[in-house]
Symmetry: C2
Subunit: 256 residues, 2 copies
Amino acid sequence: MPAERTVTHTVPVAAARRRRLRADQARALADLLRHQILAGGYPGGVLPLEGDLAADYGAGRNTVRQALDLLRGEQLVERRPGVGTVVVCEKYPHGLDRLQGLAETLNEHGRVTNEVRTVGPVRAPAPVAGRLGLPEHTDVLYIERLRRLNGLPLSLDLTYVPMDIGAGLLGCDLENTDVFRLLEQLTGQPLGHAEITLEAVNADAHSAAVLQAPRGAAVLMLERLTHLGDGRPVDLEFIRFRGDRITMSGLLRRSL
Amino acid sequence: MPAERTVTHTVPVAAARRRRLRADQARALADLLRHQILAGGYPGGVLPLEGDLAADYGAGRNTVRQALDLLRGEQLVERRPGVGTVVVCEKYPHGLDRLQGLAETLNEHGRVTNEVRTVGPVRAPAPVAGRLGLPEHTDVLYIERLRRLNGLPLSLDLTYVPMDIGAGLLGCDLENTDVFRLLEQLTGQPLGHAEITLEAVNADAHSAAVLQAPRGAAVLMLERLTHLGDGRPVDLEFIRFRGDRITMSGLLRRSL
């Protein structure tokens, strides 16, 4: 009975296609809601009811539910009985337009404190010496900090500074002050520019533990080589930001 | 026997501290090696022997092994019997300095092709209409593309374009051409600027499947609102880049 066989074959295929289509629609909707959430678009941090979201976005109720599931999976929202879906993320904007220290860039959001896990001279391996413009095997100051905003872990920063400047950092209040600010104070000149590279990586077990994030959590990895105003490279950093706590924003132009 | 008790207590604590210290050192070393790997610093894509790395970086052999484990965990390197540790990542630089389409920015690395998963008009939800400067519930063109470089999935892009311009895109070769280039052709003017936001997120199951990445894989999420030279917003995009295939690089200045 070929007709029947066609039917039994067609139904699962159509169902699979519907599921795929709904997953695609849920992702698109989740992206729009995610923007509203991060832009503070929901007064009081409470999202509209599912039915209202469905109407507002021209989506089915199941698609809305699946989109909210995606946002819950990212720990951006939570469902609270009797309240609805509420924003629970603490995600802060970090500018990509201007070279700034963390305390500077987040000062309106709270207090940045740094747990100095390691500080001291190390012999610079060739790639570090090279990038800081130093002879190979010179000592550099190595600093490892767990940085918190309002007490919550935000990033793990590994920093290399040439020793002639780094020695001065040893006497400074690294717990409460951006290295950027200290470098400007110690050298008496403003910072100039920095080359940066951004990547998304899954946190290894140990880094995740330090950042108090789940193993495999997405981390925004920033590598930054900062130069003084006179061009001298003075600060090589490897920064792991918790992906759920930072967004980077900036402006790109078509012509340079 | 307090002395004995002290000893049995001290040994695990000291061992735990050593393990932690080694994990910290391995992370710092892995970050340095990662830079060399991504910068193409290893001729032929083969890393130096463990003993040479230990000498070059002033690290213990166990620390070197643990650092290489971290890089293997990220699929940046692999161990090949009889060869050593080889670079296996295919990670490409995407500029953060200039507004460019994917094919433009990666043209030296190969051919970008786009699988158009969806294209057609949708009623713009309020936040989309608002950001594109359109009245609420106007139709916009929605495009969903899986973008590949040399055949390998690179990003999943969701795009919204005002219909007066979008209608023209329907007849274009979206498979092989950047939307940016088509927008410039259709409007007869260059693009101007774009506001961007970057985040690191863990891929949900469905997005991971589309990108052929493991579930939970770190994704670099780019939201971008692009304006024409005359300032009109014409292209709202939500892009998920596979974290293991893209780095974003740019230059920041201290003063604007």
